[in-house]
């Protein structure tokens, strides 16, 4: 059961036995939980429900996370303790400061723009005749791997010079040429290039925002809407006073999820510019230092910085959680 399965029936058998084993574990947990009733049993049941999750997380994420923080105080080879030197490098080196600046661009722009577009689009296509089709179009980029996304956007941003019979391959430059302009080397000009890469991320994430927000919009209770309608509320106030407050908790969830995802993203940068031309972000820098430059210490410090950067997002979530509890 724990060996490498090589034929298809063996693989399926292994999968089924794994699922059975899992079901058995869940069964035991639920059986024990069922023994405890009432408020007194709460604690035991709660810990029981959390037990498998905490075990997996402790081994799979907490331990590696702590190990990374520990490593961030060591040098490139991981041998000598160097205190906060790696962090000093991040905040003093000119290149690293550009990296920080870009990361701020990414984290501020991507979640808000993607969510806004997702929300507007969800409202616009709601209940229209082609809703399902229209939503699939926006969802499509979600299901595309980053490698494929890189290829797709190459056909958008590629540059060919304005000479002889050379033809443009990238659509954007072609449009510029059609409009009578000269082709631009889109991915070299900083900070324009960072924004162009952010566009790719927004393109991918808008589908996530749209899907979830669309569902939230559909769930707004009819009585509220009816009442508002009777009051003769206009479209803008309807959006501002009814739609937005109703989906606000969902908006927070979407912003948070996309925000964290954006902090971690590096594939787009890596495949499209390799982090050159001042486009690198923290996650890409982490990958580069760890795997290309073999600087384990600095890589770990950059990963730790990602933990730190997520704190504002955590803080914002606690606040809105508290607010919703007070309501």
């Amino acid at each position: 059961m724990f060996n490498t399965a090589s034929t298809t029936p063996e693989k399926i058998l292994q999968m089924l036995s794994a699922l059975l084993l899992f079901a058995a574990v869940m069964g035991v947990i639920l059986f024990i939980a069922g023994r405890f009733g009432g408020k007194k049993g709460d604690r035991i049941v709660a810990y029981l429900y959390l037990l498998p999750v905490l075990l997996l997380l402790a081994v799979g994420l907490v331990y590696p996370g702590l190990r990374t923080i520990y490593q961030s105080f060591f040098d490139a080879a991981g041998d000598a303790f160097i205190g906060f030197d790696n962090y000093g490098t991040i905040f003093s080196d000119a290149d690293q400061l550009t990296v920080l600046r870009n990361t701020v661009f990414w984290v501020v722009l991507t979640p808000f723009v993607a969510t806004a577009i997702g929300l507007v689009y969800a409202i616009l296509v709601d209940k229209s005749r082609f809703e399902s089709f229209a939503k699939t179009l926006i969802f499509l980029p979600m299901s595309i791997s980053f490698v494929a996304a890189g290829v797709i956007w190459k056909f958008m941003y590629e540059y060919r010079p304005d000479q002889g019979n050379v033809k443009q391959i990238g659509l954007i430059n072609q449009v510029i040429v059609w409009l009578g302009g000269k082709p631009v080397q889109l991915l070299i000009e900083s900070p324009l290039n960072s924004f162009l890469l952010i566009v790719v991320m927004i393109w991918i994430q808008a589908g996530f925002a749209m899907t979830i927000l669309s569902a939230a919009i559909k769930a707004i209770p009819d009585d509220i809407i009816e009442a508002a309608r009777l009051d003769g509320v206009n479209a803008w106030s309807m959006f501002r006073k009814i739609t937005l407050p109703s989906v606000q908790p969902t908006v927070v969830v979407v912003l948070t999820t996309i925000g964290i995802g954006t902090l971690k993203v590096f594939d787009i940068v890596r495949t499209m510019t390799g982090g050159n031309f001042e486009t690198s972000v923290v996650a890409n820098e982490f990958y580069r230092q760890t795997f290309n430059a073999d600087n384990q210490g600095l890589g770990a410090a950059l990963a730790t910085l990602l933990f730190v950067l997520v704190i504002p997002i955590v803080w914002y979530n606690i606040r809105s959680l508290r607010q919703s509890e007070e309501r």
Binding site: A18, T136, L140, S145, V253
Partner: protein
């Protein structure tokens, strides 16, 4: 507000009644609104459309002219797709396809069930350390996958699981948990507490509340998260490479597609065709489950 929602049935699909959005749209329903929607849809589809067209163009044409010239000078070839499906004999997509499915199914079911239990505990139970634990789990979303590779692989080597699907099931499940718990917790909190209280007054324990009251309301929400998790696992390459190795026994289809571009990554034409092949499954899943999906998230927001 909507305590009238039936206890044990899924919330009714919004029928053809006016919704806020509908009214907003009606009021906005100038040609401008429709135009905006169409413009967005076109902008979003255009890049992918370019890829689709490119995947049918010959290699030389892809490298020297833009895909839009296809319309003035159409040259169509299936060569690229033939290349993806093993025109040269060395690619056998079928067995990788099976591997992908074998990897995906448990990697979706396990974290979704575990996260549902945990989210329930966080949303509806009181226990010491609840807030701190929730925050820690929330913050764990940010741990870059890459830092876990070596520590986890060491563990898998020690328990002799390398080269098996177990490594993938366990690691995918673990990585999915923080986000799953965060999202499901949010959905659960939106369920009117009156429902739970009523059930408790009737003497129901946690197990029966979970199964009889919450699960019917949440099943669609679980399915919704399941679909996203499916997408992410389906498109994963890193975890599969590191923990299971790239051998035929365990490697997913993404490995084969990544390798398609050749040792030197020159084959745009194969990549564009390969990208389309890899999109098919996720899009099919989305189309088939879209209705269900919308209902799932609906359940999470009834409180309004």
């Amino acid at each position: 507000m909507t305590a009238a929602t039936p206890l044990t049935t899924t919330p009714p699909l919004v029928a053809d009644q006016p919704t806020a959005a509908k009214i907003a749209k009606k009021r906005l329903s100038s040609p401008w609104a429709s135009l905006a929607a169409i413009v967005l849809a076109v902008l979003w589809t255009l890049p992918t459309f370019g890829l689709l067209v490119s995947s049918f163009r010959p290699e030389r044409a892809i490298k020297t002219t833009g895909w839009w010239t296809f319309f003035s000078n159409p040259t169509l070839t299936l060569e690229n797709y033939r290349g993806v499906f093993g025109g040269d004999g060395s690619v056998n997509l079928a067995s990788f396809f099976v591997n992908s499915l074998i990897i995906c199914i448990p990697s979706v079911l396990i974290p979704v069930s575990l996260a549902a239990l945990a989210a329930y505990a966080f949303a509806w139970m009181n226990f010491p350390g609840k807030n701190v634990l929730f925050l820690v789990i929330f913050a764990l979303q940010i741990v870059p996958l890459q830092v876990t590779l070596i520590p986890l692989l060491e563990i898998f080597v020690n328990v002799k699981l390398t080269g098996t699907f177990w490594t993938l099931w366990l690691s995918h499940s673990t990585f999915a948990l923080p986000l799953a718990i965060y999202l499901l917790h949010n959905f659960m909190r939106e369920i009117p507490s009156g429902l739970i209280e009523a059930a408790r007054v009737d003497g129901a324990g946690h197990v029966s509340i979970f199964f009889k009251v919450l699960l019917p309301l949440l099943t669609p929400a679980l399915a919704a998260f399941g679909i996203f998790q499916f997408l992410w696992v389906w498109n994963d390459l890193l975890v599969a490479l590191v923990f299971a190795g790239g051998g035929d026994e365990v490697a997913p289809i993404t490995l084969q597609l990544a390798n398609l571009s050749g040792t030197r990554g020159t084959a745009w034409q194969l990549l564009s065709a390969g990208a389309f092949v890899s999109i098919i499954v996720p899009v099919t899943v989305f189309l088939l489950l879209q209705r269900y999906f919308v209902r799932g998230l609906l359940a999470g927001s009834v409180k309004g």
